[in-house]
Amino acid sequence: MIRPLITVCGAFLILSSCASHNYYELKDNDLYIYLTEPDAEKVYFVSSLDQFERHEALKNESGIWEVTLPPDQSFIYFFIVDETVLLPPCNHKVRDDFGSENCIYMPEG
């Protein structure tokens, strides 16, 4: 009984650490968007909220890059990681007319 339980827990922990490296969180009336790129030196967040100006993301205590945004607007976004455009594995996408795509955040509800 214990062995299968340990196996399941172990698998869960492994899968957790291998999980998608991008996600968002609604917390305290703010939208947090995270990016796990531990080896990156500089990460910028870019969105349609302000005509695609670059905003430097900060690394939090857990070593994850994060940005804080208003939660109630839809916008398209991408990251620039050490001068390379990174399209995270987001749920919602739109084409970018440059042969690639952008992520799009759509407020819940």
Partner: protein, 293 residues
């Protein structure tokens, strides 16, 4: 009387010397006269002068050639002459600059955006018969096209909408909700043909604007935790075909119809978005960088 009309004509159609001065002052000194003249022409068509100056400065700073700058103006002029919005076209420039895209490709992309809005406008005007009323619908259709709905499929959606016989305001409402739902579904990766299928079945069952809106909300809620939005869309199609109401779609169990046709609830976690994976990090301590608020 003729004199008065002549003076009014001069005021309306001669670029203001004040505006010319602003363009002169705000652009780098070595900006060519051709660019400045062309900028004035764009502004005279209604593009906000600060916005155009900002766009021009961005192109100059990013080493666009004169011909490319003039081409970008031509795109804006064409858009304004067709009563299309310039905002999305200008945004495409900034997106391209941020991504370090080559200038030529940025200009091409700006042209694509204009073309997409032209197509969207044609659909909207054809449906509503009124260019003024068509503006909002143009935006919704353009978003559908950007999300990946093909023009052939958009033809089909508009055809389905045209076939619904209802009063103009109801038709407009239904079109709005249908387009928004189609857009949102496309953004999750659902293929156009599956979107058409859902809408076709919904329309056959007499879904109105309110029901389509509920359908869209239910789908987006469930799609957040679904491993296959396409399969979810197929489930919706089948459920609706078998008589599921819009209210019951939220109860649709993954891959099945039982929830929507019975009383089995389904749960979807809210608040944490993670594409296909568990694992949220421990809550970060410090504040993140605030992007524009």
């Amino acid at each position: 009387m003729k004199k008065i009309f002549f003076i009014i004509f001069l005021i309306c159609f001669t670029p203001s010397p004040l505006l010319a001065g602003e363009v002169d002052e705000e652009l780098p000194m070595d900006t060519s006269a051709r660019i400045k003249e062309s900028a004035m022409q764009v502004i005279s068509l209604g593009v906000e002068n600060n916005a155009l100056i900002k766009m021009t400065r961005s192109m100059i700073e990013n080493h666009f050639m004169e011909q490319q700058i003039l081409e970008s103006y031509e795109i804006l002029i064409k858009a304004k002459n067709e009563d299309l919005p310039e905002g999305p076209i200008m945004d495409k420039l900034y997106e391209g600059v941020s991504k370090n895209i080559q200038a030529g490709n940025i200009i091409q992309a700006m042209g694509k955006v204009r073309s997409r809005y032209e197509t969207a406008s044609n659909y909207a005007v054809s449906f509503l018969g009124d260019r003024e009323q068509a503006r909002i619908m143009t935006g919704n259709i353009a978003e559908c096209l950007t999300a990946g709905v093909g023009t052939g499929d958009m033809d089909r959606i508009m055809e389905m909408l045209q076939q619904r016989e209802m009063k103009r305001d109801k038709a407009s409402e239904l079109a709005t909700e249908t387009l928004k739902t189609a857009r949102d579904m496309a953004r999750t990766g659902v293929e156009s043909r599956d979107i058409i299928d859902v809408m076709d079945n919904a329309f056959r069952k007499g879904y109105g604007a309110g029901e389509i809106k509920k359908l869209g909300n239910a789908f987006m809620t469930q799609a957040r935790t679904s491993s296959s939005p396409s399969d979810l869309a197929s489930s919706y199609s089948n459920a609706i075909k078998q008589g599921a109401t819009a209210d019951s779609l939220m109860k649709l169990s993954p891959g099945g119809l039982g929830g929507a046709l019975g009383d089995l609830p389904s749960e979807s976690p809210r608040g944490i978005g993670s594409p296909g994976g568990p694992g949220v990090p421990s809550s970060p301590g410090g504040g993140g960088m605030g992007s524009p608020r």
